[in-house]
Amino acid sequence: MQSIAVTSDPLRLETLVGLVSGSGGLGAIATFVGLVRDHNQGRRVTHLEYEAYEPLAVKVLEQIRGEAGTEWPGVRLAVHHRVGRLAIGDASIIIAAASAHRADAFAACRYVIERVKQIVPIWKHEFFEGGEVWIEGATANPQDDAARLEAVRRTCA
């Protein structure tokens, strides 16, 4: 399995942990698992459908991994994002960050999810009791340094 992937298969935490493991110099692995929640803005969510512009999404995830590598040298990262129909409680994204020390592992893990929400071309189609809506978050601009710095700031907050 690639360490960066956009896939319709169910995500597995142990796969991600395995992808960043394997070096004796590691002292910590931090993970983030994003889940499909049963409510959003007062709506009762029944399920989600995720759509991606897959070739670009993979490239942008690689870019984010590169940014994290600059900010926290030596950190090892794996990111899998799921697409297609997801049920309540399913994992939509799993991030694993391994480092010699816990601070860098936590920081890099948080940074990746903040950046995913800013610039990765993936969209959530929310189905709820009584209707459906496309969720629209950030206008994606991978060159926007202010957004990148905001992600760093949240990471270190």
Binding site: G34, Y50, E51, A52, Y53, P55, L56, A57, K59, V60, H81, S92, I93, I113, V116, K117, Q118, I119, V120, P121, I122, W123, K124, H125, W134, I135, E136, G137, A138, T139, A140, N141, P142, Q143
Partner: protein, 81 residues
């Protein structure tokens, strides 16, 4: 020149199509392709200020000049994670 336009999320719903082809004059930009799309699907005008674009699966500026056979994607604000 002939280009392929890829549409995602609500833009795809508005058009009822994920992909369409367009004949554009030489020298056209991604912005020109977008303007033509909005003429055909006026509901897309709501995205004039929030759209991102990618040419051949790389993020690009709306001022990017297009070439024959390019794939131009229009991306509404993203919501992954």
């Amino acid at each position: 020149m002939r280009i392929t336009v890829r549409l995602f999320a609500r833009l795809r719903d508005i058009a009822g199509l994920a992909e369409l082809t367009r004949e554009l004059p030489d020298g056209s930009t991604a912005a020109d392709a977008w303007r033509e799309l909005v003429e055909q699907f006026p509901a897309m005008a709501a995205y004039n200020a929030s759209i991102s674009t990618a040419v051949n699966a790389d993020y690009a500026k709306m001022t990017t000049m297009l070439s024959d056979n390019d794939e131009v994607a229009f991306l509404p604000p993203v919501s992954g994670g």
